[in-house]
Symmetry: C3
Subunit: 269 residues, 3 copies
Amino acid sequence: MTTAKTPGTALQAMRDAAPLVQCITNYVAMNIAANVMLAAGASPAMVHTEEEAGEFAAIAGALTVNIGTLSPDFLNGMRVSARAAAEAGRPWVLDPVAHYATAFRRDAVAELMALRPTIIRGNASEIIALAGGQSAGRGVDSGDVVERAEGAAVMLARRHGAVVAATGAIDFVTDGTQAVRIEGGSPLMPQVTALGCSLTCLVGAFAAVEPEAPFAAAVAALACFAVAGERAGRDAAGPGSFGWRFLDALSVLDAHGLDAEARITIAAV
Amino acid sequence: MTTAKTPGTALQAMRDAAPLVQCITNYVAMNIAANVMLAAGASPAMVHTEEEAGEFAAIAGALTVNIGTLSPDFLNGMRVSARAAAEAGRPWVLDPVAHYATAFRRDAVAELMALRPTIIRGNASEIIALAGGQSAGRGVDSGDVVERAEGAAVMLARRHGAVVAATGAIDFVTDGTQAVRIEGGSPLMPQVTALGCSLTCLVGAFAAVEPEAPFAAAVAALACFAVAGERAGRDAAGPGSFGWRFLDALSVLDAHGLDAEARITIAAV
Amino acid sequence: MTTAKTPGTALQAMRDAAPLVQCITNYVAMNIAANVMLAAGASPAMVHTEEEAGEFAAIAGALTVNIGTLSPDFLNGMRVSARAAAEAGRPWVLDPVAHYATAFRRDAVAELMALRPTIIRGNASEIIALAGGQSAGRGVDSGDVVERAEGAAVMLARRHGAVVAATGAIDFVTDGTQAVRIEGGSPLMPQVTALGCSLTCLVGAFAAVEPEAPFAAAVAALACFAVAGERAGRDAAGPGSFGWRFLDALSVLDAHGLDAEARITIAAV
């Protein structure tokens, strides 16, 4: 690890703080994302409407924005929240779900990128397309492996001064000057909807507690998913039994277990 | 118990009637609340839009209103529904989620309170703040124990002529002239999102069947959660396995088991 | 079977294609419907807003429209999507949830019916009411058995040139010239919210792969639910444990098992 704190230390600090995180996410993810946050020890608040989202962003420790079921109303809430988070000096995380699929999404993400997200989390196709490359993404599913997205992630990180996390079978996280790969998880995870969206929220929880160290925050959150996913996958017989086992695994994961089982390797940038 | 019917009798009556309940709730709660209602034996209908919510409220046995992911559109639906329920003489239940967090919520709840909810269900911080006190609430989580909210609950009940249920580790229910405490549940319950919101819907189901006895209705619904939660918690290994066990426990709970295991004690008012 | 392909062959073809399906469904169903689709092997995308729904419908293999938590904004998205699907020659499936309950729903469904859905899936009360009959439906629950809806289904199919699937304890599917009944499932299924809505999405997945054979597509999708539901019901202790077992059962269902266990009989029309 290139960061002073281990993921386990970061997990313990996040649990001790139980950070309030404003999550503007999609309708599919709302419930599972909130349950992931609670299982991990954070305090999620799904607050999206323009009339209060900006006010709330100023009291939350971090903001996460996910465009999965985007509409103009939600986009208005995202705008004011991202601005309020930036003004309050709070980190915010962008999840550009299938931004390449329609003009509405492309324009929305271009506008949100201009508001300077602290961290960007997406699948390989989303990261490649965000860097201007040709992705094989179709709908909300990635058509690319993360390995193909590593260059795009580094380019994006440098261009936008953000941490970029491309997640998949092997995750890749970079801030443009350093990078790691994280192995783990389970082949069942893509069969459970909105786990990536939920991970975006959890990245926000870690970033809330370590606002000055977004790279370490993203790595710690992804490591939690990798280890809890691996544990849950061992006993699951399918995506249904994986879902609840994953929440159980997140809730009992501790600093020692996380550091012992996380498989994080430094990558060249 | 200060009511003629036991919670078990009320549960049996609710199941026999399978009341149609209009639930205007938040995006996080929609699915789990509907599943809780079905497991308990009620018939939920999530109908919120202004164009039909009032018409629907007139045919439903009760209405429940929860401001968890409030927006102006939903608020319009809440207004017309609460008015229609009142005009039709149907009970309605208000769940003022985190109403202290933003001006938008505070104003919305003030307006909804003026429409005279039959029953108010909230966590301790919400009840304290609703009575004008200083709560330690943050985001959607209570920062106070229910014991601190008992005085506020009695004050609210008297001021508004409503039944008030403050729920937490030990619940407190009052109509201003009588009160009970209900013990049970599981420490895992706050780790599962939207169980409180789901309980609000179930309170509506009991109130639909006993519109003249909202105090007994609220007590019976809370007793169901306390007993089913206690049973589910015994075998759960975390919030994930608690979630489905809780639904199973609700579905097999019967009048005899409820009356045998409910721990309800009379409190001074 | 009156179709050349067996349900098992259709399932294998659907899995091999992993069709992208645009699902405009209700808030209650969003998560479970996406999980059902992923478990079965399809690729769902919940895209509803007018600003992009039409554009997306032109790239998806099929569209499904469900009016469960209808609002004017969603209705706008449904309109443009149904038109775009029709123009692109893609099948689309209508789920007229509780359309008899309010004027807003009745009008919306009349308008959507005029856009000529390829397949209509509903419970018995919805199908009876859609054909102009007097249903015993109340809220979102059917008050009628499917047997009573068979004549209405045939009439609807002939009048609108659509496949009609009336689902319940014994399903009935017809295109007006042929019909089958499908037995299976579990008495626990009506206790789990939004399984019918999820089935509508799965019908869309099969129709995407067999756009010229919507009758066979609907039969195959319903057969998957019947067999997976029957298997899941064997070990479930209630609706909670049924829910995840059903997803597991869908994910391991294969062509051989489906054809061996599906109980499909030809019915007179």
